[in-house]
């Protein structure tokens, strides 16, 4: 480039005649600082999206459910899961049906070293042998709930409030039981990196994604392949993980939906596997998760996994579409306030259908 070209080009820039009039008014410009707020909210959204990564882990739990666990702690709540015992009804004030096993999948965002993490993804998987259905209920992490012993807070705060780990998971279970009145039998908890590994052990998961989602995954998943466009692809662990963390599209509601999609994607994967390979995968992934299921329970589920996975899959989300309000609570942040009685009913109806009063 020649200097003359630069000079000539820059000299083409000229102020509008109107600018002089503005200057002659002698007033400073009406400075527009609004963008800074937008910037902040964008940044917050990005951070939230990162937190969501953990959620992706949730998918793994589904797999895990059959797997059982390395660390089935002494916490076992007793009571074997039997498929054809007792009638549906109330146990300790909670809806319960022996033929329905409720397993809470917790995706924990613990990617920072030394961070307890938050249970940012919470999905209740109900294996309903009475109606022969598989049901997933997502609980939004921003639900404003009463945490037993800790006052009111966001649902995802229960896990760290009890110090994380098995106690944290137990408090998350207790919190959902106390607020939404449904008996939860077991939990399976997956940390951040475990999710990626588990999906990879399954050989990836097939998802149909939009161009917008593809762009984000390519950019942020950390997978060296940036091959995605709009369409149906076999996603790697990292890609599926990021996919289930995306929050900038359709915010948290869109995200929980994506998480349920990944879950059913993994379920589809299972359906086409044989029992031997399911066992193998389960035994490899077991060490990566924390659960209160006993070895026998895991084996039992694995044994029946092909039956369960062929049940039709239905989905629900708490709060429901017209049953929440976004509010700001000082010290807690933006929360979703829901009519607890209605949510309770919605869950009961969804999981137990007509069998519960």
């Amino acid at each position: 480039m020649k200097p003359e070209n630069l000079i000539n080009a820059v000299n083409q820039i000229h102020a509008d005649a109107g600018l002089k009039a503005k200057v002659m008014d002698g007033e400073p410009s009406a400075s527009r600082h609004k963008p800074i707020l937008m910037t902040l909210s964008k940044t917050a959204a990005c951070l939230a999206a990162i937190a969501v990564l953990v959620l992706g882990v949730t998918l793994v739990p589904k797999i895990l459910k059959p797997l059982g666990t390395t660390s089935h702690t002494s916490q076992s709540q007793g009571g074997a899961v039997s498929n054809n015992a007792g009638q549906p009804g109330m146990v300790n004030g909670l809806y319960h049906d022996d033929a329905i096993q409720n397993i809470l999948l917790l995706g924990v965002d613990d990617y920072q070293k030394g961070d307890i993490g938050r249970s940012d993804s919470m999905m209740l998987v109900s294996v309903d042998t009475r109606h022969k259905k598989l049901k997933i209920t997502s609980f939004m992490r921003d639900l404003y709930v009463t945490i037993p012993g800790y006052g009111s807070n966001k649902l995802n705060a229960a896990y760290p409030l009890a110090g994380g780990g098995a106690e944290g998971a137990a408090l998350a279970v207790k919190t959902i039981e106390a607020n939404f009145g449904t008996d939860i039998d077991r939990y399976v908890m997956i940390g951040n990196s475990a999710f990626d590994q588990i999906v990879d052990k399954f050989g990836g998961v097939t998802m149909t994604i939009t161009a917008e989602e593809a762009k984000l995954i390519n950019q942020y998943s950390g997978d060296s392949r940036r091959n995605l466009t709009a369409g149906t692809f076999l996603l790697s662990g990292k890609q599926a993980h990021y996919y289930s963390r995306i929050r900038v599209i359709g915010d948290d509601f869109g995200r929980t939906e994506r998480q349920r999609k990944v879950f059913s994607g993994i379920a589809d994967k299972f359906k086409t596997s044989n029992v031997t390979s399911i066992y193998n995968i389960l035994s490899e992934t077991l060490p990566l998760v924390t659960t209160d299921m006993s070895k026998n329970e895991v084996v039992d589920i694995a044994k029946n996994s092909l039956t369960y996975l062929n049940y039709p899959l239905s989905q629900n989300r708490i709060p429901g579409d017209n049953n929440y309000q976004s509010q700001i609570v000082s010290g807690v942040g933006t929360v979703l306030v829901t009519d607890v009685a209605k949510s309770k009913q919605s869950i009961a109806k969804f999981i137990y259908e007509d069998d519960v009063p």
């Binding site: 820059v10 820039i13 000229h14 600018l19 400073p28 963008p35």
Partner: protein
């Protein structure tokens, strides 16, 4: 009072005619955005009215305007964290030829420091020492920025400046 403001007004008009276009070009190069550049120019003259600084001669005055406008542009950029890219439409409104718009695009894509210094050196003809004084930088810093900016634009040296 009315006489005073009359005088100030005339004075302002005169100053605008002297520096207005130059400052707009400078801000436009830094900010790549017409609205922002106009805001900064407006603020620069508002500050001039408000402070009515004492100048030691015309060079000092011009340097003051440049300094205030570059500072203002820098502040403006802080609020434009996500919007620092060049808007081609705005460039094309000025450029007469595709070559010119390409040149402007390349210039505006540089870091603000480089393009400010390139602008002052090439378009306003300031020497390295003068730029260092105006922007409050070390001469070596200016020299390096000028060198790197030139490298990035693949700008040929002017013979008379090469020594």
């Amino acid at each position: 009072m009315s006489q005073l403001s009359q005088r100030t007004g005339d004075n302002l008009s005169e100053k605008y005619d002297l520096y207005g276009n130059m400052l707009f070009k400078l801000c436009m190069v830094i900010l790549c955005n017409k609205e922002d550049a106009e805001d900064v120019v407006q603020d620069t003259f508002a500050k001039y009215l408000q402070k009515h600084p004492d100048f030691r001669g015309a060079e000092h005055e011009k340097a003051w305007f440049i300094k205030v406008a570059t500072n203002g542009s820098r502040d403006k950029r802080r609020y434009r964290f996500f919007k620092k890219t060049v808007c081609l439409d705005e460039i094309e409104a000025y450029a007469q030829t595709p070559e010119q718009s390409q040149v402007l695009e390349q210039l505006m894509a540089l870091s603000p420091k480089y393009k400010t210094i390139l602008y002052l050196h090439y378009i306003e003809g300031y020497k390295i020492k003068e730029i260092a004084d105006i922007l409050g930088m070390k001469e070596t810093t200016v020299k390096v920025a000028l060198y790197r900016g030139r490298e990035q634009l693949k700008l040929e040296l002017r013979k008379e400046l090469a020594q």
